[in-house]
């Protein structure tokens, strides 16, 4: 049928297609070569660790964002969740543990106890905020751009109220450093966590029904509904997962800087969208792969690292990042048009 017409020029078409399909990997590869040429310390151990932790923080957010974008929604609240999750979790832990007589905050803003409870609550609260985003989206029929924008403001306000604007120190909290600073077999644990999450999401999307639900919800909601799929449920799930990813990302962030502050993560929602877009996820929903998102996180973090190593002023950096976003999105759109 129609598909056979493309076979007239044998090999060259295959190789062009191969490059086109793996464009992101090639760009990543080029970047690595560029990094080695431009800076002697690029492949140094500590530089790689520095890249990997950023990759984890941004990559986790971007994976969550990608899931939301796959169901044709958008989540602007992920950055705010990164601050609100830990702040609310600590405030709540303080109340809960105060009942048993344990004071977890001393000296005004040093958190010294209750790590396990705090971690569990961070994940729970973050996921809950995501679910709330989703429920408002599907119940009130308000576009997610608006729901999550509102949530962004609400959460940052609440973060200020709960913390009074003060940073919290985790330097005296035993174990708080672990996630952000420990290595297993010289691989940072946070990166292992990121890879685990990434691989898990990829496998679940590919090998379980979840993937079909999410892709069909975003690709053609009507078709999904006609097949009896509860698309509202899957949208809520996607938002919940996005919140959860933001919560994990917040744990890594706070562990790395051994502190919690009200402004942490602000603006990261846009970075997460940018990464998802570079990775090939579209705003139209149902298109793109999480693998692309993971590679795109690496592309962005490595690019920022190289630019910082060569000492470029921030203005130029933002221009380059902007160009990468536009370039990548155009390339994806182009390659889709040409395959249709």
């Amino acid at each position: 049928m129609a598909s056979d017409t493309a076979s007239f020029n044998g090999k060259s078409i295959i190789s062009i297609k191969f490059i086109k399909d793996n464009m992101l990997v090639f760009i990543l590869f080029l970047e690595l070569i560029m990094g080695v040429i431009l800076s002697p310390v690029f492949l140094g151990k500590s530089n790689i660790y520095s890249i990997l932790i950023n990759l984890t923080i941004f990559g986790l957010l971007a994976i969550g964002q990608s899931l939301v974008m796959l169901v044709k929604e958008i989540d602007l609240s992920v950055g705010a969740i990164m601050a609100f999750g830990p702040i609310a979790a600590i405030a709540l832990s303080k109340k809960i543990l105060a009942v048993s007589g344990t004071e977890i905050i001393v000296g005004g803003n040093y958190v010294v106890d209750g790590l396990a409870l705090i971690v569990v609550l961070v994940l729970f609260i973050s996921a809950l905020i995501g679910v709330l985003n989703g429920v408002i989206r599907v119940k009130a029929q308000v576009p997610s751009l608006i729901v999550t924008l509102g949530m962004l403001y609400v959460l940052s306000g609440l973060s200020y109220i709960l913390s009074g604007g003060y940073s919290l120190y985790l330097t005296n909290l035993e174990g708080a450093k672990w996630l952000g600073n420990t290595k297993l077999a010289s691989i940072p644990v946070n990166f292992i966590l990121f890879l685990t999450v990434g691989v898990l999401v990829i496998l679940v999307l590919k090998y379980t029904k979840v993937g079909h639900r999410i892709y069909s919800t975003g690709g053609n909601e009507k078709a999904a509904i006609y097949s009896g799929i509860n698309t509202k449920f899957w949208k809520v799930i996607a938002f919940g997962l996005s919140g959860l990813c933001a919560g994990i990302s917040a744990l890594v962030y706070s562990s790395r800087l051994e502190s919690v502050e009200t402004i942490q993560g602000s603006g990261y929602e846009l970075i997460s969208i940018a990464i998802a877009v570079i990775g090939g996820i579209t705003l139209e929903g149902g298109r793109g792969k999480i693998f692309g998102t993971i590679i795109a996180s690496a592309i962005l973090c490595i690019m920022l690292n190289i630019l910082s190593l060569v000492g470029l002023i921030a203005w130029y950096k933002t221009i380059i990042v902007g160009l990468i976003i536009i370039g990548a999105a155009s390339q994806h759109a182009f390659s889709r048009r040409t395959t249709e």
Partner: protein, 473 residues
């Protein structure tokens, strides 16, 4: 699914209410930072016996008596610098119960104690007119660095002339007029030394990026790092990592959360607040009435600048029971917000004698609001409302010159050159540097360069060349 989500939402709301109510709207014990240091620095002990003796004398004075005492400081043999030091370290008085309570509730004691104080390096004294004129390498502004003679370092190579010294600088805000001048001064100093190679990075107000830049400096094995930390808590660990890697780190202006930092150059927040207080009392005395109502327009709650300045301001005022603080308003370093706050204050209080702003946004906003409300000369007998401003914008100094602001106490970004010299001294091991390098106090700016409680102040014209930012049109 519906049931579950409903339950979850309910739980979430309960949790939020619970925690919000529980935290009492953020009224929290004050931040206790750097608690291991400066515990010796009792506020009433300056190390200057002459001044310590005076504190014992002033302790039980209030109102007119206190005023008389202040007015007689010069006769007691204090020079200008000592007079300012007297007011900076002045203990809180219980004479004004309201002020004493605010001081205690907001934990100003703690902030005052933890802020580095003491003698300048080699007892350096700043004199008017000194310093160096430059063109900002980044901003292209015409600037005059006031402290180029402090921790002086000759032009030319430093340390081992055959060695390249790699210095990393991390701060936030190439887009911010105050901070870009901060970067200007650091770069200017580095550029004077041909074997210094500089890498200046902007973390764009993102502490995670700040940490990444620190880490990348560590992996580049730079010889030293100069930093402007936006906040304390998250900047501690990266600084500690650099120190662990054997790289000296020097902070300028704000302080990082690291207790081990090689050296820190701090500004003069205490002198800012204390001089605003001095001026207010002096002016009220000139007018012949020590009763006044003041509104404080303040920076974000919990910021060191706000707490230290307000604390030192209130300490001076605490000796005068006739002064009433009407209210404190906080903004998030945003002029629009400050303006709204000033408008609310003017609405709420028909009589306001003094607007104290902890930054120049606040004072400028108050002036605009008062003009708009037609309240500029609304005090008893048609006297003008007093505007006490801090910071160093050309706009604020111009307002002093035009007689619209009563006073401006400068706080300049042009101190990072000091930090660069301190760092180079450490890196090249050419001089032993203390952990705390104190910025010399700058006398306040008044319209006529008045003598206040025996201390000579500057005229706007004298200070104007040192102000930061682009020239006014």
């Amino acid at each position: 699914m519906r049931k579950i989500t409903k339950l979850l939402c309910f739980l979430l709301i309960v949790m939020m209410v619970f925690t919000v109510v529980g935290c009492g709207g953020g009224e929290k014990e004050p931040a206790k930072t750097g608690d291991s240091q400066n515990n010796s620095g009792q506020p009433s002990s300056t190390g200057n016996e002459k001044i310590d003796a005076l504190y014992a004398e002033v302790a039980n004075l209030q109102g007119e008596d206190a005023l008389k005492f202040f007015e007689g400081l010069k006769d007691k043999g204090l020079n200008d610098a000592e007079i300012l030091q007297f007011f900076i370290d002045l203990p809180l008085s219980q004479a004004n119960a309201q002020i004493a309570k605010i001081y205690k509730d907001e934990g100003f004691e703690m902030y005052g104690k933890s802020y580095p104080k003491g003698e300048t390096y080699n007892d350096f004294q700043w004199s008017k007119g000194s310093g160096t004129k430059i063109t900002g390498p980044y901003s292209k502004n015409d600037l005059k660095l006031p402290f180029t003679d402090y921790v002086a370092l000759d032009e030319g190579t430093v340390g081992d002339a055959s060695k390249k010294y790699k210095i990393g600088v991390v701060f936030h805000g190439f887009s911010h007029p105050w901070l870009i001048n901060w970067a200007d001064a650091a770069k200017w100093e580095a550029d004077r030394h041909s074997n210094v190679e500089l890498n200046v990075q902007d973390a764009e107000f993102d502490n995670n990026k700040w940490a990444s830049i620190m880490d990348s400096f560590i992996s580049q094995k730079v010889d030293g790092i100069l930093v402007w930390p936006m906040v304390e808590a998250p900047t501690g660990p990266p600084v500690d990592r650099a120190l662990e890697a054997g790289i000296p780190v020097v902070s300028v202006d704000r302080t990082s959360g690291s207790k081990e930092i090689t050296s820190r150059i701090t500004g003069n927040f205490p002198a800012n607040g204390a001089q605003a207080g001095m001026y207010a009392i002096w002016k009220l005395a000139q007018e012949g009435d020590l009763n006044a109502k003041a509104v404080m327009l303040r920076k974000p709650l919990g910021s060191t600048a706000d707490a230290v300045r307000t604390g030192h301001f209130l300490k001076v005022l605490s000796y005068f029971p006739g002064i009433e603080i009407l209210k404190s308003y906080h903004d998030t370093d945003n002029r629009e917000e400050a303006f709204t706050n000033a408008q609310s204050a003017l609405q709420a209080y028909p009589e306001i004698d003094i607007f104290f702003g902890t930054g120049d946004h606040e004072a400028l906003a108050a002036l605009e609001a008062a003009k708009m409300a037609n309240r500029l000369n609304s005090r008893k007998d048609g006297k003008k409302i007093m505007f006490l401003s801090i910071d160093d914008s050309k706009e604020a100094v111009t307002q002093v010159k035009d007689g619209l602001f009563e006073v401006n106490t400068p706080y300049t970004p042009l101190i990072s050159d000091i930090g660069m010299r301190v760092l180079l001294n450490i890196v090249t091991k050419s001089a032993e540097m203390p952990q705390d390098v104190i910025t010399p106090n700058i006398p306040m700016v008044t319209q006529k360069g008045d003598v206040i409680f025996g201390m000579q102040t500057q005229t706007p014209d004298q200070w104007y060349e040192y102000t930061f930012g682009p020239a006014l049109k």
